[in-house]
């Protein structure tokens, strides 16, 4: 019931590998780590969700604020390797329309 956040910085690209659960308890920590990365112009932030096995609206909220921040600062946010269950929440809420989500969903049908 925790979330591990692993950030790898490359030139113009940050890879944020997440592992665990994103909920009301872990979302503030994620926001704290993710938002500063979006404030650099020209930076691409790739969030790897392969090992995230639970997420709810608190996670959606973090990605929405990160997306807003990228628009403001001229950076880019990408969500990759999302599990089917997590992807479903983006679909239900209509956020697949505005988020850059890698289409190869893990465990999809």
């Amino acid at each position: 019931m925790n979330l591990t956040i692993d950030v790898t910085n490359k030139e113009h690209k940050s890879i944020v590998a997440l592992s665990g659960e994103i909920d009301a308890f872990t979302a503030p920590k994620l926001k704290e780590n993710l938002l500063p990365l979006t404030k650099e112009e020209g930076q691409t932030i790739e969030v790897d969700l392969q090992n995230v096995n639970y997420m709810d609206s608190t996670g959606l909220g973090v990605f929405i604020s990160a997306l807003k921040s990228t628009k403001e600062h001229g950076s880019e946010l990408k969500l990759v390797h999302m599990q089917e269950r997590v992807h479903r929440l983006f679909k239900i809420t209509g956020l697949t329309e505005i988020m850059n989500i890698d289409s190869t969903v893990q465990g999809g049908i």
Partner: protein, 158 residues
């Protein structure tokens, strides 16, 4: 009256206990024979209700308790989530829920606005009472005939 088992869990109104109740929910739903998909839906819906109650308690600066009641019936699970804080403006909250619409500006997106919408989308029936504190009552039915149909799908997604 219809026979049912009742399980009550009380946790402090703090974010770190949302996951604890999620695990209890998963255990009860699994015991009842819900499918993997339905259990995941229940986990999200109940976490959303508790998250709302935690935020509510925080706004009221009230380090209170949240009571979660599970009604285990033959054909359904009823979950009640109650906080005992002051009342809140339900009509305002209802106005703020809904999915993203294509013509909404990204700047106007509500970062915390999807909780109640998800509860509504993932459960079969949802009732909210905000007279004394806030009580969310959610129901999910056991669709037994669907379990067989979903069987293959479950094994291939593991």
């Amino acid at each position: 009256m219809e026979p049912f088992d009742f399980i009550e869990v009380k946790v402090p109104a703090k974010a770190e206990y949302v996951g604890v109740v999620r695990l209890s929910t998963s255990g009860i739903a699994n015991r009842m024979g819900f499918s993997y998909e339905d259990i995941e839906d229940l986990k999200v819906a109940i976490s959303e209700a508790i998250t709302n109650a935690v935020k509510h308690a925080y706004l009221e600066s009230d380090e209170g308790e949240i009571t979660i009641g599970f009604g285990v019936y033959e054909d359904r699970l009823e979950v009640m989530v109650a906080d005992h804080g002051g009342s809140f403006d339900l009509s305002k909250i209802k106005k703020d829920i809904g999915p993203y619409q294509q013509n909404d500006a990204i700047e106007d997106l509500r970062e915390g606005g999807f909780g109640l919408f998800l509860i509504d989308a993932l459960m079969d029936k949802v009732e909210i009472n905000s007279k004394y504190g806030v009580i969310v009552l959610m129901t999910k039915y056991l669709h037994e005939n669907e379990v067989g149909q979903d069987g293959d799908q479950v094994s291939t997604t593991q």
